[in-house]
């Protein structure tokens, strides 16, 4: 009776071929589902998909916006790779991003009337420290008290957001801001330099690409990268080899926090220029999708960040031209992750049909 249903058989070794194809399968299925949704809403699916995925990037302004959005996503995702490779579930990158923005932005507010070459580097450094400190809290609790990092890192997101909210309506409020919940603007030298005149893409992109390159080097050429990988595959083997899991947890959380902190700082000193409540449209959570879609690989993450950034841009255009709420971008993000996670089965298991 059950002969038509495939049975799932564990593979002895995970399939590299499938590892490459699974993200592509997920994207194709998402596009098919997306067309069906657009069709149900009464739009021509080809036109809707064009509006969503092609027209936003058919100008130099659009391409620059794509890079502006992909920059924080890629940077946080590569940081998350340090955690996820070792099966450490840091899902609090949004909080680490916020703390980075608070620390770095705090320096920017303190020196709001200073113009000096050292200001931006100092802000970036402070952003990294802020994010890293916030990331080290769940690491410390996990190492010291065996506390589940999923829940602590998630809770810390909301604590960070409330701290930011307190600061911008309280002590850091712009004295000339007509009681809007925002801080003073940073000085010119506290802003990320723009890469091209008239476009918003900024120096944060260069920092991101540099850190992705460094991460690639660490993952593939260093003992630390090897240890992360082994601990992720087989904690037992890692213990037998004498790798110190405590140190790995601290390092993974610290690096991820620092990267997310830099991403937060480069948002506030890049396109925004001051601190206020809504500095991030959930980049810290969306970067989790980017990390998974990119298979935790540096090159994969670059491609994935561009694809997910496109869902943000497409959603804005869809709102403008199709009068669909921009939150439809979240539907695409959710769908692509659903399909990806579902299709991941093919990497470690194969499907077979029973013979009668």
């Amino acid at each position: 009776m059950n002969n038509f249903l495939p049975i799932i058989i564990s593979r002895s070794q995970s399939s590299n071929l499938m590892n490459f194809f699974v993200p592509i399968i997920a994207i194709v299925l998402t596009l098919i589902t997306g067309s069906i949704i657009f069709l149900l809403l009464g739009f021509d699916p080809i036109y809707a998909l064009y509006t969503f995925f092609i027209s936003p990037i058919s100008s130099s302004y659009g391409l620059s916006e794509l890079l502006v959005k992909a920059t924080p996503l890629a940077l946080i995702a590569i940081g998350l790779a340090f955690c996820f490779k070792n099966n450490i579930y840091n899902i609090g990158a949004e909080g680490q991003l916020t703390m980075g923005a608070i620390f770095g932005g705090g320096i920017g507010i303190l020196f709001h009337d200073t113009n000096a070459f050292w200001l931006l580097p100092l802000m970036i450094f402070a952003g990294a420290i802020g994010g890293a400190l916030w990331g080290l809290i769940p690491a410390l609790l996990k190492n010291k008290f065996n506390t589940n990092e999923i829940l602590t890192s998630l809770m810390l997101v909301y604590i960070a957001l409330f701290i930011l909210d307190y600061l911008v309506v309280g002590p850091w409020k712009d004295p000339n801001g007509f009681s809007f919940p925002k801080s003073r603007a940073f000085s010119e030298s506290g802003r990320m330099p723009l890469l091209f005149d008239g476009l918003r893409v900024h120096f944060g992109l260069i920092i991101t690409l540099f850190l992705i390159f460094v991460s690639w080097f660490v993952f593939s050429k260093t003992m630390f990268g090897f240890q992360l990988k082994v601990s992720g595959f087989s904690p037992k083997a890692a213990r037998y080899a004498g790798f110190n899991q405590t140190t790995l947890i601290f390092l993974a959380f610290g690096i991820c926090g620092a990267f997310a902190g830099i991403a937060g700082l480069s948002e506030v000193s890049g396109p925004i220029g001051l601190l206020y409540r809504d500095i991030s449209p959930n980049y810290g959570f969306t970067a989790i999708i980017v990390a998974f879609l990119g298979r935790l690989h540096p090159v994969g993450i670059i491609f994935a960040s561009l694809i997910i950034a496109l869902t943000y841009l497409g959603a804005e255009d869809a709102q403008l031209f199709l009068q669909i709420p921009s939150a439809v971008g979240f539907i695409f993000q959710g769908l692509v992750l659903f399909y990806l996670l579902g299709a991941e089965l093919l990497i470690n298991y194969k499907l077979a049909f029973k013979k009668t």
């Binding site: 049975i7 799932i8 058989i9 564990s10 579930y89 899902i91 609790l141 010291k144 008290f145 065996n146 506390t147 589940n148 999923i150 829940l151 602590t152 998630l154 809770m155 810390l156 909301y158 604590i159 409330f162 701290i163 909210d165 307190y166 309280g170 959930n282 959570f285 969306t286 989790i288 999708i289 998974f292 669909i324 709420p325 939150a327 439809v328 971008g329 979240f330 539907i331 695409f332 993000q333 959710g334 769908l335 992750l337 659903f338 996670l341 579902g342 991941e344 089965l345 298991y349």
Partner: protein, 289 residues
Amino acid sequence: MSIELIVGILEIILIATTPLVFAGIGELVTEKSGVLNLGVEGMMLVGAVTAFVTLVITGSYFLAFLISVLSGVVMSGLFAILVLFLMSNQIATGLALTIFGIGLSSMLGKEYIGTPIDGLSPWFFVIFSFVIVFLISYFFYKTKMGLILRAVGESHNSAHALGYSVIKIRFLSILFGGSMCALAGSYISICYAPMWQEGMTAGRGWIALALVVFATWKPERVLIGAYIFGGVTILQMNLQALGLRFPGQFFSMAPYIATIVVLVFISSNRLRIKLSAPASLTIPFYKGR
């Protein structure tokens, strides 16, 4: 302070806390079976919007709640298929569910922002929230099915060896969790604040997740925890209205800080965490051939 004011505040606390109880108890049942579903916020939002839209179209409160609960079944069913049959990562799948739910609810509710409806009296649901907690508690600790559900959450391999269907029990627990989350959402959009607004559950789904840990996976403690959190929130609003200078954000953080403190407390002792948390939480079940 007059008696009326105190009674008024107590009434508001009861009304405001009820959705936390629904979502918290739903998630608790899911987690007891060994599955962590981080999609609570998404399911609540979809539950809220489907109830609201159904009410506007049909005018029937009964249909509104029915469709809403069904939406919770569908949403959590999607999650269940992925984590149980395709053995996907529960954490990532739950996050996907929340992100998807945020998008879907905004899309479904687009035409209905600002549509006025007649709200429903919350009192039936307030009482029902107490009843359901005690029913779940009875179910877990006095019935055989409850014992089996807990066993599946503790050790799915042992439960499987004893001949219980791990997948079926988890599937049903996930669906129950989803329908309670949707009920919490529909309560918010129909009783608590009769309207639809994007993201109107305002992070209550995450608080519900925190509550389950805070309650160390015990049903009655979900009720206690929910009322502490709900009470603090409402008191803070009232104190702000009375002109207290203490910044409200620090009150708002309290549930999250309390959750971390409780987590540290229960996990710092290996025996205590074993007695509290379902041992198979987030571990997928693979039957083999």
